[in-house]
Symmetry: C5
Subunit: 359 residues, 5 copies
Amino acid sequence: MAHFHKRYHTPGTAPGTLHQQDKTTGVPLKISLTDYTASDFSELVLAEPEECRAHLESDSLTWIHVQGDAAPDTLRQLGKLFGLHHLALEDVINTGQRPKVDDYNDQLFVVMAHPVMGADSSDLEMEQLSVFVGQNFVVSFHPGASDPFDPIRTRLRDHSGRLRERGADYLFYALIDLVIDEGFPLLERIGDEMDLLEERLFDTPTRASMQELHRLKRTMLLLRRKLWPQREVLNNLVRDESGIIVAENSVYFRDCYDHTIQIIDLIETSRETVTSLMDIYHSSVSNRLNEIMRVLTIIATIFIPLTFIVGVYGMNFDNSDSPWAMPELRWYYGYPLVWILMIGVLVGMASYFRRKKWL
Amino acid sequence: MAHFHKRYHTPGTAPGTLHQQDKTTGVPLKISLTDYTASDFSELVLAEPEECRAHLESDSLTWIHVQGDAAPDTLRQLGKLFGLHHLALEDVINTGQRPKVDDYNDQLFVVMAHPVMGADSSDLEMEQLSVFVGQNFVVSFHPGASDPFDPIRTRLRDHSGRLRERGADYLFYALIDLVIDEGFPLLERIGDEMDLLEERLFDTPTRASMQELHRLKRTMLLLRRKLWPQREVLNNLVRDESGIIVAENSVYFRDCYDHTIQIIDLIETSRETVTSLMDIYHSSVSNRLNEIMRVLTIIATIFIPLTFIVGVYGMNFDNSDSPWAMPELRWYYGYPLVWILMIGVLVGMASYFRRKKWL
Amino acid sequence: MAHFHKRYHTPGTAPGTLHQQDKTTGVPLKISLTDYTASDFSELVLAEPEECRAHLESDSLTWIHVQGDAAPDTLRQLGKLFGLHHLALEDVINTGQRPKVDDYNDQLFVVMAHPVMGADSSDLEMEQLSVFVGQNFVVSFHPGASDPFDPIRTRLRDHSGRLRERGADYLFYALIDLVIDEGFPLLERIGDEMDLLEERLFDTPTRASMQELHRLKRTMLLLRRKLWPQREVLNNLVRDESGIIVAENSVYFRDCYDHTIQIIDLIETSRETVTSLMDIYHSSVSNRLNEIMRVLTIIATIFIPLTFIVGVYGMNFDNSDSPWAMPELRWYYGYPLVWILMIGVLVGMASYFRRKKWL
Amino acid sequence: MAHFHKRYHTPGTAPGTLHQQDKTTGVPLKISLTDYTASDFSELVLAEPEECRAHLESDSLTWIHVQGDAAPDTLRQLGKLFGLHHLALEDVINTGQRPKVDDYNDQLFVVMAHPVMGADSSDLEMEQLSVFVGQNFVVSFHPGASDPFDPIRTRLRDHSGRLRERGADYLFYALIDLVIDEGFPLLERIGDEMDLLEERLFDTPTRASMQELHRLKRTMLLLRRKLWPQREVLNNLVRDESGIIVAENSVYFRDCYDHTIQIIDLIETSRETVTSLMDIYHSSVSNRLNEIMRVLTIIATIFIPLTFIVGVYGMNFDNSDSPWAMPELRWYYGYPLVWILMIGVLVGMASYFRRKKWL
Amino acid sequence: MAHFHKRYHTPGTAPGTLHQQDKTTGVPLKISLTDYTASDFSELVLAEPEECRAHLESDSLTWIHVQGDAAPDTLRQLGKLFGLHHLALEDVINTGQRPKVDDYNDQLFVVMAHPVMGADSSDLEMEQLSVFVGQNFVVSFHPGASDPFDPIRTRLRDHSGRLRERGADYLFYALIDLVIDEGFPLLERIGDEMDLLEERLFDTPTRASMQELHRLKRTMLLLRRKLWPQREVLNNLVRDESGIIVAENSVYFRDCYDHTIQIIDLIETSRETVTSLMDIYHSSVSNRLNEIMRVLTIIATIFIPLTFIVGVYGMNFDNSDSPWAMPELRWYYGYPLVWILMIGVLVGMASYFRRKKWL
C-alpha cells in the first residue's frame, strides 16, 4: 500500500485534457446499458458508446455503467452523447479524486469513494465511483475489477417496485446508497480484528502486532480521508438546488446522509481505539522491560554480595605467621558460619524485596 | 465488549426492508398500551398491535411501548396503524443508530441512547430508545431486557398532576428526560471508581489497573459517541418547527438540553481524568523502574570494586622467590588492612551516592 | 477532592421536585434582606422568607440573599413570593449546575461559579451562585460557609454613589463582577505555586512533585469546566433581550465579559504550563535514570575486566610439572606486571568514556 | 533550511516604502511581455518597464512577467504604468507573504506560494508568486531562478485555442492552476520517500532516519503553512465580486479550488503519516533496547549464580583440622557433583526464561 | 519570568476605581504632546496634563503620549480633558489586559500588546499599549521604560507627507502598525536561536538545552496569548462602524490585519518547531541511553562467562586422592587450553553481537 495514489496531469496542461493513463489497471472495459420505464426493461453490453444513441431519444430512463479503466476515446464519445463537461471528464480519468458534487446546470457530477476489501483487510482499495445524473439518464464509471451494481440490476429486472417507477435521481440514490453501505461490513471486519488484537496485546506484545497496528492506523487514515468529504456531498444532495433531485426523494438522501455520519462516527471511534491499542502495546512492552529489570536486579543484588563474601575467603593471606591473617579460615565452624552469614544476607534481601513489593 | 455493535442491512437491499435480525437479544416482546386523558386512565398489555385500534379513534392520548427485540411483523402492523415511515422503521430494527430527530411532517421520529449499567461498570450497554410522537400518540421502542419507564407509568397512574393534563409532547419529554438523567448515576459511579483507582495508581501500578484504565477509556469513548449527538437532538427539539411540541412545553426541553450539556461536560471531564490517570500510571511505573535501577546500581557499584579487591588477594602468585610477588599477603596486618581499604571504599561510595541524592 | 460533585434527582422524578438533600453541607441558613432606594437604606436578617412581604410592595429595590444550604421549604416560599419558576428552583437545590442564564420572561435566572480557596490551593471549592433578577428585586443563593457579598453591602451602606442610584440590574452586575474577579487572586496564587514548582522540578523531581502537578492539573480542569461557560453567560447578558438589563448598564456587563475572557485566557495558559511542567518532570526523571545508568556502566565496565584478570591468576593450575601452566605466577615481576596491565585497562577505558562524553 | 524566511521592513517605516533588499537572491531580472488577441500574438523581453507603454493602449491583452528579484525602481515604474497600489507593491518586494487576495476596485492582487523542488526533497523552496489582474492586463512577479510559465507561453504561441480567446482572468487562471498543480508531483515524491523510509524504520532505526523524519516533518509544516491559505484565496476567487473574473470562467476557478483542497488533504495525510513513522521509529528503538536488556539479563542471571558456586569452592577454609571445613572438596565425586549442580541451575534458569517467553 | 503578570483590583471594588499600583515599574512619567496640521507642527513635554487644554480647542490634531507608569491623578485629569470612560481608564492602570477594542460612541479605546526584547530573548516583555482615538485627538499610554514612537515623531516632524495630511485614525494606524511590526524582528531572532539549538540537540542533548527549550516554549505561549487577540482587534478596526476610521484609510488597517495574521502564522509554526525540537531532544537522550546500555551489555556479557571459567579453575578441590577432582589442572596444556576456550567464547560472542548489529 503506497502512501500516494492519486493520478494527476502534468502541471501546465490545458484543462480538460484527456490523455492516456501510464499506469492502467489492466481491467478490460465493459459498458453496460440498462434502459427502463415502469413497464419496460432492457439491458445490453455495448461495444461502442455510440450504440446507445437509439435509447437516448426515447422517454425511458437510460443508465450507462462503464466498468474498468475508461479510455480517453470512450470518455470523449460519452461526453459528446450526454453533453458532459470536459473538466468533469478529466476528473473521471484522473482517479483518486476527493468525493464531491459539482452542479453543471442541467446535470450533477458526483464523485464517491467505494471501499473494496481484498482477502485481508490490509488489501483495502478505495475505488472512485463517478456518476453523472441528468433528467432521464445516469452515467456511472467504476475503475475496479468487478461490477458492484449487480444487486441494483437484479432489483430493476425482478420486481417492478419503487425503483422502476421513480426517476434518475432515485436510481442515483440506489447507486450511492450501496456504495456508502459497503462501509458497514468493512468496519465490522476491522472491529473484529481489533477485538482479536486487543487480547493479544495485553499478553504478548510482539513486533508483528506493532506492524498490524500501524497498518490498521493507515487503513483508518485512508478511510477517513475518503469518507469524511462524503458527508458534505450528501449534505449538498439533501439540499439540492439544481432541480435534479425531486423533493419527495429528498428523504432517501437524508437517510444516506445519516448512514454517512454513522460510518464517520465508527471511523472516528476506530481511530481512537487504534490509538488506545497503541497505548496498550507500549504499556505492555514497558511492563515486560520492567519485569526483566526486576528479575535482573533481584538475581544480581542477591548474588553480588554473596560472591563478595566467598571472594573474601578465597584470599590467600598467609596465616602461618600472623593471627590477624584470616583466622576465620581456621575456625572449627568457619565454613558453616559463612553459609549461615550468606543465608542471612539472602533472607534479608528477600524480605527487603518483599517489603518493596518486587517479589 | 466488542468494538463493533451496529446492526445493518446487506448493502444493496431496498430501503425500508424489515428483515429478521440474525442476532436477537432473546428478550420476549412486550407491547404495553397506556391510554389517558386528564380524567381517565387505562393500561393493558397487547398480544397483537392490532388490539390498540379501538383506542386510536378516541380523543385520548395513546402511548404504545414495545419492550424487547421488535419483530418485523410487529413493526409493519404498527407502521400501518400509526402511519410510520418505512425508513424510520428500518432504523428501529437496525439498532445501534446515532441519536437523531427526523421530522416526517405530522410526526417526529427520535432516536436516543439509554445507558444501562450491569453489575459492574464494564457491563455498560447503550440501548437504543426509538420514539414516534404524533398529535395524540407516542410509540416507543426499547430493545433492552427491562422496561425503564415504570416510574412514568406510576406518575400517570397515581397523581393526576401535570403529566396527565398535557399532551403527547409532554409525555415524550418525560420519556427522554428519564433516559437522559440516567447519565448522572452512571457518571457518579464512574467518578467513584476513578477516586479508588487514582489512589491505587500512585502506590502500586499493576497490569490490572492498566486494564481497568483501558476499560474506562473505552466506556467514556462509547458514552461520548452516543451522548454527544443528543445535544443536537435536544437543540432541535427546543427549536421544534414541526408543531408537535407546543410553545409552553419548550422550557422543559430546554431543561433537558441543559442536562444533556451537563452530562457531556462530565463525560469530557472524565475523559481528561482518564488521560490524567494514564499519565499517573506511566509515571508510577517509570518511578518504580527508576527505583529498581537505583538499588541495582548502588548494590552493584559498591560490591563490584570490593569483589575486585578480594579477587586481587585471591591470586596465586608464587611469593616464595620474589619479594615483588604479593608481599601484602605476608604482612602482619595485611588482612585487617584489606578490610579497612574495603570499608573505606564503601564509605566513599555511600557518601558519593548521598551527595547525588540516590540514598 | 472527589471526581464527581453534582447533585441530581433520581431519574424519572417529576420536573421541579424540591426534595431534601441527602448530603447537606451543614451550614446554617441565613436569609439577609437589603432594601434601598437612592435615599433610603435598610437591612435585616429574616427568620422566615414571609417576613419580606412588606418590602415587596414598596418602590424600593429588594435584595434577598440566602447564604447556606437552602431548604426545600424556604425555596418554595421564596418561589411563591417572587414568582420564581419551579425548574429554576430545582437548579438552585441541585448544586453543581453549569453556569447559564435562563430567561423567564419577566425575570432572569443566572447560575455562576464562585471559586473559593481554602488554606492551600488544593482546597478549591467551586460554589454555585444562583441569582434571580426582576424589575425591582434580586434574589441570590450561595451555599458556601461564608457570605462573599459583604463588600457590596458596605458599598451600599456607606457611600450613596452609583450603586444606590441604579436599578436591580446594576446590583446584579456588582454581585457577578465580584464573583468573577475572585478568579484573579486565585490564578495569581496558582501562578506563584507554579513558579516554585518549576524550579524544584529541574533539580529534584520527586513523587510528591508529580502528585502536586496532578493536583494542579485537576484544579485547572475544574476551573476550566466551570468558568468557560461563564463566557457564554456574559455574552448573553451583554446582548440581553429580556429588558431586565437597561442599555446604559450594558457597558458594565461588557467589562465583566472582558474579565471572564481574561480569566479563561489565564486558565488556558496555566493548563499549558502544567503540561509543560509535566514534560520537565519527565525529562528530569529520565535524566536522572540516564545518569544512574551511566555511573553503573562506568563502574561495571571498568571493574568487570579487572575482576576477570585477577580471576585468571586465582586459577589453581598445577605448575609443578608443566612449564605451560601459568608460568606468569612464578615470574619475578609477575605481580607488578598484572597491576600495570590492570592500570592500562583502566586508563584505556577512562579515555574511551571521555571520548564518548560519558565522563 | 532556516526557521525564519520572511522579508520585512524596519518597524516604523512609512507604508508602501520600496527599499532595496539586503539579501538579494542574485537572480538577474528578466521582464517578458506577451501581448495577444485571438488572432495576433507577440512576445518580447523588455530592458525597461517603460517599453511596454505602446502595448497598453491597444485592445490586446498584455501580460508582463517579471522573473527574479524585482528592484524597487522597476516596481515603481510598473506601479505607475498599471496603477498598482503601493501597499501591494510592498508585498511584492517583501517576499514570504502569506497567500492572499486583495481587491483594489479595478484590479485584483493575488499572492500564491509556488513549491520548487531542488535535487532532493529537503531543498524545497516556497517561491512567492505575486499577480496583478486588471481588465486587460496581467502583471506577475516570481523571484525564483527559473521561469515556471514556459508551458503557458507555448500554449499561447502554438494553438490558438481557448486560452487566446478568453480574457485576462483566464490567463490568470492558467498561471495559478500551474502553480497549484506543482503540488502533486512534489507530494508524490514525498510519498515515495516515505514508502522507503517506512520499510527501513521497522528493521534498522538509526539516528539518520530520525533526522530524515524530522526534515520531512519540517517540510510538511512549511507546505501546510503556505498552502492552507490558498484554499481561502481560491474560495474568494470562485465567489469573486470585483467583476474581474467573468461568470463563465468561474467553473475553472472551482476546479482550482478542488485541486487546492486535494493537495491540502494529501498534506494532512502526509503529516499524520510522518507522526505515524515517528511512532514506528520510537517503537523500533525501544524494541531494540528491550532485546538488549533481555540478552543482558539472561547472560547475567545465568552466570552470576554459577560464579557464586565456583566462588564458594575457591574459599580457602583449612580443612586439615575440622570436618566442617568444606568437606565437599575432599569428596571423591565432588568436582563432577559441582558441575551437575551448575548444569541443574542452568537448566532451571533456561526453563524459567522459556516460561516467561524471554527465550 | 513569573507565570502570572496581570494587575487587578481587589474583587468587590467599585468599577472605574483608579488606585495607586503597589508594584510600580519605577519608570518616571513623561507626557509628550504633539500637535499638527498639514502645515503646522509643534511638540512639547507636559508637566501636567492640564497644560494641553489650549491645544484642544484648535482645529489641529492633538496627540498626547504618556510614557511610563501612569499615576491615578494623571489619568483622572486626562479623563476629564478628553472625556475618557472610567472603565477604560481602569484598564489603562491595570496593565496586562488582553488586546481589545471598545467602542465608546465618539471614541475608540484600543489595547495592544507590544513585544519588547531585552538583551537575550528570555527577557521578552509584553508591554500594554493603550490608545484612545477621537475625531481630532489620540491619547496613548505605554508603561515601558523607553518610548517606542520616536520614528513616528520623526516622520511627523521631517517630511510633510501622508501622515501630516490625514486624520487621527491614520496616526492611530501608524502607532499600532509599528507595535505589530515589532513582531517580525522578534520572531527572526527566535528563529535564529532555534537554528542553533536544533544542531546542538542532535549532537549533545544536555539539561541546559532542555531548559532553553522550555524557556522558548514559554515565550511562544506568552506571545501567542497576547498576539492572537490582536487578530480580532484588527478585524474589528477594518470593519469599524464607529465612524472614527474613515473608509479610505481602511486599506491600511487591512494591511495591519495581514501582518497580524502573518505573525500569528509564524508563532504557530515556531510553536510546532519547539514541539519538534523537544522530540529531537527526547530521541537524542534515549539514543544515548541505548548506546550506554549497548556498551554495558557487550562488556558484561563478554566478561561474565569468562570470569565464570576462571572461577571454575580457582576452585580448591583436593585432587590428591580423586582422579575426578579437577584433572584439568594437572593437564600439561591445561592453562593454554583454558585460554583457547576463553578466546573461543569471546569470538563467539563478538560474532553474535555483530549479527545483531550491536557492534
